[in-house]
Amino acid sequence: MLAIDYGADDVIVIAGRLDSAQCPAAQSFLDKVQGTVTLDCSKLEYISSAGLGVLLKTQKRLIASAGKLRLSGVSSHLRDIFVYSGFDQIFEIEPAR
């Protein structure tokens, strides 16, 4: 299961598993986001390559209008995925505290 919604301070909180099945829901939420936003990933347990695609599509759209998607609370496990896929070069990644 996946939950995605606004938390405190306009930070978007994503929780659960972002696999192929959950991508449409996450995409339709992120499609409405504007400007520079932070996605709190501290409760994100898993991300598939389709999930990376959702983040990529959002990042491209936001960058086109001078905004961006920032990822915070990234666990070491998720960080490995971002690094091994080269996504650390596309996103600003803030590690989990």
Partner: protein, 561 residues
């Protein structure tokens, strides 16, 4: 009821939908003495009724629940309307369009024997009156027959459609497979092998091993997802890369241009992770970029350890690229293997949801690194299969393995004669070329061989046995062994005059030559076997650091005494 039995046999024959629909309408008109009839098919995905009017005209669609037909589909009950224009559910638009006037109408659901709604049948304008209770009973019986017949045809058609699709996919698979190298390129001193096993008929993985002017091009690509869409993307990427290198593009240019082309055309949430490398088989150096493809494993034969390399860039097609981080250079020593493996291997999950992982891959390469790369690939695939223990393959699996041949040795025997020298030089030259040994070392090796061999000819006059020369490639150089049979011991590493067991000769045994040898080569060792009356001299020559520096040194030492 006889009329119904009559139409049942008529309904058994047709196998295509349009003929069957016409038969059903005819049967209804005949049995119910109606002027016109039509059959709506139910589309469960859209929850709509579809009326196929005639070939070439777009079918009419009605949402379930609206109008007479829609209401009938929703409620699955027969609706008998004696005066249509008095019923609010009736839509006079069709009459308006056709100029026909509908008076009365019987609408009945077509439900098959498994209680699945197949469609709705409507019959209009009973000859000389309206539809009565008897007509309703007759129509209901007829509807059951029609529903089963229609469902049979629909399923047959779906089956045929599926079969066609399967054939198309089979063609797509053949096309994709034909883009993979038919035979692995032959590179002296190297063993390169690649293979790909799609999870479905076509795969989102690709690979390439091909020779270009710059060396051996090695590619492994993995598009997001699998199936026909990603297969088209990766195949396009592989073709673009191959063409770029054929046109002489540098690694950087090829990567940037192919990335930017893909970024323009791929959907926004799609990308391709790719390793693109060029091996210089003489310098034994693989220069590579990895666009989100990782980890890249470098197995080192000397230590048995594996180095894991991370990507140098984000996946291809993700965004436009203007510059790149520097490429990574991997120096391959004899026996080293560079392993490009798609995540279909690393992330293969068994029934307990455990991943195959990197450690298992490393264990297998350690156990089988001396095998051929084709065999190592089979071992890896077998291990993945054994690990899966029946769990299905969910992602495409692709392996590209590039191995620098392990230290190999070649030997030849030479007649104990000065005439053999040219043959010895030919032999060293041949081995250096075949094993891609730094040619800067050749002069020192030939000089040393000549000195030692002529000593054997000059001082072992009692023996007619041939002298054996072994050349083995070692890290950055060679190890050469001369074996001299049926001789007295003579240790070249010691002062020659210290050996009093030698046959007496006037001349001192090449004192200056031996002196030089000890300075020219890295090491000289001597071994004697009393039982076999055999002398063995082994020397090693390697490039000190970078091959260039060593070449300069060897050039300076070329003078012979």
């Amino acid at each position: 009821m006889e009329a119904i039995l009559g139409v049942t046999s008529a309904l058994a024959a047709p196998f295509d939908l349009m003929t069957m629909l016409a038969e059903v309408v005819n049967a209804a008109k005949q049995v119910l003495d109606a002027d016109r009839g039509s059959v709506w098919l139910y589309d469960p995905n859209a929850d709509e009724l579809v009326l196929e009017v005639a070939t070439g005209i777009r079918p009419v669609r009605v949402r379930a629940g609206t109008g007479l037909a829609g209401t009938c589909a929703r409620e699955r009950k027969i609706i008998n309307v004696p005066d249509c224009y008095a019923d609010p559910r009736f839509d006079p638009a069709v009459d308006k369009a056709s100029g026909y006037r509908t008076r009365c109408m019987l609408t009945l659901p077509l439900v098959d024997h498994k209680d699945v709604l197949v469609g709705v049948m409507q019959v209009l304008n009973k000859a000389g009156g309206v539809f009565d209770d008897d007509d309703e009973v007759l129509a209901t019986a007829l509807a059951a027959q029609c529903a089963v017949a229609l469902q049979r045809v629909r399923m047959t058609e779906a089956l045929i459609e599926g079969e066609k699709m399967q054939q198309e996919l089979q063609v797509a698979r053949t096309v994709q497979m034909s883009t993979f190298p038919a035979t692995m390129p032959s590179v002296p001193g190297y063993d390169a092998y690649g293979t790909s096993r799609p999870a479905e008929l076509t795969g989102g993985d690709t690979f390439d091993l091909s020779l270009c002017g710059q060396g051996l091009v090695a590619v492994l690509g993995d598009a997001t997802g699998h199936g026909i869409g990603p297969a088209l993307s990766v195949t396009q990427m592989q073709a673009m890369l191959r063409m770029a290198f054929r046109l002489g593009a540098s690694l950087e240019t090829a990567l940037i241009q192919v990335n930017n082309q893909l970024a323009e055309t791929l959907a926004d949430d799609r990308f391709i992770t790719a390793f693109v490398g060029i091996l210089d088989p003489v310098a034994h150096r693989m220069r590579f970029h990895s666009a989100g493809q990782g980890p890249i494993l470098h197995f080192q034969a000397a230590t048995g350890a594996c180095t894991r390399y991370k990507p140098t860039s984000f996946p291809l097609g993700a965004m436009q690229l203007t510059s790149l981080r520097p490429a990574v250079d991997v120096d391959l020593q004899p026996g080293d293997i560079l392993m490009l493996i798609s995540d279909g291997v690393y992330e293969y999950r068994d029934a307990k949801d455990e991943q195959f992982g990197e450690e298992r891959v490393e264990e297998i390469v350690r156990a089988h690194h001396s095998a051929s790369m084709a065999e190592l690939a089979s071992r890896l695939l077998e291990s993945v299969q054994a690990f899966a223990n029946g769990a299905p393959q969910e992602d495409d699996i692709t392996l590209v393995l590039v191995k620098r041949s392990a230290a190999t040795s070649a030997h030849r025997t030479f007649k104990r004669s000065f005439d053999s020298l040219q043959g010895i030089f030919d032999f060293t030259s041949e081995v250096f070329a075949r094993e891609s040994v730094d040619r800067g070392l050749l002069a020192a090796v030939d000089f040393t061989l000549e000195e030692l061999f002529t000593n054997m000819v000059k001082y072992s006059t009692t023996s007619d046995a041939a002298v054996r020369v072994d050349i083995a490639t070692i890290d950055r150089g060679v190890e050469v062994t001369l074996t001299d049979y049926d001789v007295e011991p003579f240790d070249v590493t010691q002062a020659p005059d210290a050996d009093i067991t030698l046959p007496i000769e006037k001349r001192k045994p090449g004192g200056l030559g031996l002196h030089l040898i000890r300075r020219l080569v890295d090491s000289v060792a001597y071994e004697y076997s009393k039982e076999e009356r055999r002398s063995r001299i082994t020397f090693r020559k390697t490039s000190a650091e970078a091959p260039k520096a060593a070449a300069a040194n060897a050039g300076g030492e070329d003078a012979r005494d």
